[in-house]
Subunit: 248 residues, 6 copies
């Protein structure tokens, strides 16, 4: 099967990190196709970047479906544009936050997500609430810019470690979820260092995507994920008119 | 004071309906500036249209702030893009769903929103939950296309009346909220017909916007509504880079 | 329009503070009539005072409606007797807690109310829960007697400041709500000192009352706010029999 | 031990019904003292009557404590003035709604309260929510005036039976709670007729009061139930000043 | 009346402590029969012990009912096997956690349970949530083995005291619930030491059992507590086949 | 990898149905070992059967782990004994209800579980609540005995179809979850008949087990799933003493 994993920001180096984690998690028979959005923000830090990342994400999603993907993953921990993706695509689409949270719920009663920027903390907490895990999962921010994770000179990884340590002590977290796609390469090292389960959303989403495809399950189209109604779209976004993008 | 009311779909006739409702609600000293998004869907019917309406909405918002608006209103009942708007703008921004729901909470214990398309029912119910009113407010859909409200040949208004009738009987609703900006012109007639309070979100949002401006209140910038961080934006959305759009 | 603002305690100097705040917030065309309850406690500090403040409040409310008020405000942060007021009056009635909480929800995701006595903290938290904002709004008490706010010799204002400071640091509050009508005169100074939005319920309620009147909205009478049924009332409260008070 | 059971409305015939139910439930060694409020409404039907019943209730409560009661019961299903009672008294005070709901929770997973007037349905549902049983307990109204229960000519008892029948079928209720003190005499007949547990709040409260006294438990005074602070009370309610009423 | 109190662990010395507390709480006319499970764990510390305590508990329960008990109490604070007991027995069955939590809810708005092992903290918190008291009741663990409470050499009682002290300061608890049947003998001393209401679940459950019997209430059999369906049981548990155990 | 799937009832024909579903869902490289409990009820219908199924389940679980299983599945939709299993085993353990609910949450916003006996409806609803999906997932019972699913003469499958039909119409379910392991063979036929996603918990749990093993995740042992403390176990359950069962 083929799984498209879409980095909704436009930074290719982050796509490489994501692709590595996805390959490590994928079954032998799974083909991973990792793509970078061609339009929008270089990183997603808060509501504004999130909103502007969606058009590029939707373009990559339809392209991936057209080219034969069996499932798609949105590789940003804010689960950016996930509802719109599910309405547009006929293949199943997964967010890395929802995949990580569900997976962790099977191995721990209380756990903590450690994300990057403080301004992303409440949006991620809103997701956790929506996924029904607010009573079991705290959200912390290490207060680091997303792209600093790639900069060996920054103290980003130390701040991340400090926040994990606080989660274990203060939240009595039994497991840790890494709250940014850009942290995917740190999973093994952090497990070794802290001796608790550490869950990366990219890897979790790959397994959930494989599961949905193997089970023959696709997004239900009876409710809010019904295929968009054809209608005129104006201006620079004309190409997104449902009849246009779906037949492209 | 000047209040910008932005129709995030690209249908100018709907903007006219909205502008009329806004003028009727506004205080004498309030200047209403009603604008239509120049890019995106002709109507917002579900998650996909909603996501693609946001870029055009954000452009109009920054333009409105630059031209001196003291507050802005997003005139779509899905409160489309509201969080991104609040992060981007320094003036306060209101959604018509949140304004309607808050206003109605002061005059009724249980009330019902009647929206248009079935596919918008759960998204609006999610908003109601987020605004803390899930236990007090049911959401119904009359199952009518948004633009059919403007078509005198359609049976849209009859279906809307039927659904209000069901809300009064089955939900024991004490008041009705009209769940689409395109219904704003029906408020007075429906109040007269059903003899209960009927609340239109456009009018409610105008009063809330006037209130915030009069009270000197602006969006708090300490949390998730912090001004977007400057960074590169690529491709067709390059003009949305925070440093570009904020200094335009 | 005319808005009656009723201080449900019997301390006239507090009514003066409230009236000042109301006048500052009111539109030019709004007439503010501030009245003091003629029977009951000198200040409302906990459930007992609250219950005994209601008869006097109801008397002032009917008097205000009879004298032409278009809306009324209960100027105690416990929203004392609000449900009984809504059942009795045909004009809309607002509480200052509900008005402050709704208004603040439009400009901040997380905020904190700072009230006076520790014994009022849980009652106010119950209100916040009822208004659907428990997940977004913490309640703190500065542990000061209500009337000490009027005493320049007391350290009440310093304790209030300390509690606001704690809310900003520990709750990560994005905005502050002043949890007592007697704090209304401190709003501007506290905004300047802390640099965050500070919301006073008296001012917020004036704007909400203006909004309801302008929108032509009155309390829905189909449910629990139905007009009281006529029946005998005995003893010292005989004058409160619905048929008596409503026709007085 | 001595338990005071206070009818907060002023109708003595209802007190007699309540006293009978209390005597049947009480242990041999328990002395029941049933009293009728001397001021306020003849029946409690909605928020307005409820508020005006509180002063008379508080007078009877202090009198009962002064005369040696070990516990007190507020015999109205709206749990009228319960918080104020707990603050005022040093003996434990119980509401009949809370006692009925707790007791029923030990013998059924889902149950339904059938109350009198439609306007009391939401207030009782608010109590159920506050007592943590909203997910397990529905509230229905038979839509009958409170005092019609005493009128053999009325169809009140038939309407009550119809509503119980609907609860068993539609709510899949496993047990029924009688939602008005005036229904206390119907318990045995309704159990026999419907073959399910039927719980009367008056009887339940007597057993809870006996339990608290036997266990040596009194209202905690560290939080919102702290004894009222001494202060001036003005006008017709002067006698309620805490220092006055507590030393009377 | 006769109340069976079943210690679901197999440690007889703990049954003695429980029996003493039950006798102290019982009315003169109540006969307390305290029994120890004859099979399973010596103490219940976490989910595993809890599950294995149930068969022995069910045996004692049927034996007690057969021998004329009017009600039964499960004397472990995890309310071990309570649902299965209610389905099996026709007499009412009470858990000591639910009894303690309900009783305390009548005398305090916020209270704290102090239990033994950290691994029991979340299971007890789940009970509190199920009983509808999550917003009012925190759960703490003193991190002590259950049987250490019986060992005068251990520091168990000091750790318990420290945790109560923390609950009063940090949780602002107004009352304390002792979260282990083995703490029942400490109630009076802790009340005296801390000056707040201290509630023991064994005593509370005795009073609730007396109440249910006096009120003539038995477990409702229309829903999930319906009597088990007869069917084959295999292997070592053959004797638990419903038709066998119920007719034994 | 090897996945043990344990049927916690003692009916081997049902194990065969479960094993078939598991094999169909498993990856090529996955070895499925399906086992039947050797002690306890022939079917699990309500709380009592559920409790008595746990000892046999725990025996099979330790045996499976000892024989090299990498993960285990409890194949009863009540997620019988899941917490005890997680405490006992070091390999990850999954319930089929939790797996089905999580999987379905990725493809539908609102869905319905159709289970067998009415008496299992509330227990399954409690699981759904615990898994955070109460607002999105209704539970219905077809009111059929578990083993009737295997009897071609019974009308069990027709009743199941009727209930699915009701779920689609009345609940507006977008997808259906089969609420009993014994329904696993019906998945494909029901998908074809109703044209909506139909999810079987056995298949879903196999994929979740494969995912956890592939991701290297095991149950967190810092909290309530800590390995049971060694202690004496008495009587017929002596072999379950943690030190005995873990070293067997």
């Amino acid at each position: 099967m083929r799984i498209a994993i879409i980095n909704p920001n436009t930074t290719q180096s982050m796509t490489a990190t994501i692709a590595d984690a996805a390959h490590r998690a994928a079954a032998t028979a799974t083909e991973i196709v990792a793509v970078t959005s061609s339009m929008g923000p270089a990183s997603i830090e808060g509501y504004y970047d999130e909103a502007l990342a969606v058009p590029g994400l939707l373009l990559e999603l339809t392209k991936a479906e057209r080219e034969g993907a069996d499932a798609a993953i949105v590789a940003c921990f804010d689960d950016t544009g996930l509802d719109a993706c599910r309405a547009l695509a006929s293949i199943p689409v997964l967010g890395i936050c929802e995949a990580a949270v569900s997976t962790t719920s099977f191995i721990a009663r209380r756990f903590t997500i450690v994300t990057t920027m403080e301004r992303s903390r409440l949006p991620v907490a809103d997701l956790v609430h929506r996924y029904g895990m607010a009573a079991r999962c705290n959200v912390r921010a290490a207060d680091i810019p997303v792209l600093s994770l790639e900069d060996p000179q920054s103290n980003a990884r130390d701040r991340l470690r400090n926040e994990i340590d606080a989660a274990l002590r203060e939240d009595r977290a039994e497991a840790i979820v890494l709250g940014c796609a850009g942290m995917a390469d740190l999973t093994a090292a952090l497990r070794a260092e802290f001796g608790v389960p550490v869950v990366d959303g990219v890897a979790a989403a790959v397994k959930q995507a494989e599961a949905l495809v193997a089970l023959g399950l696709r997004t239900a189209k009876r409710g809010p994920y019904a295929t968009p109604v054809g209608k005129p779209y104006r201006g620079a976004l004309e190409i997104f008119a449902p009849q246009a993008i779906l037949s492209a």
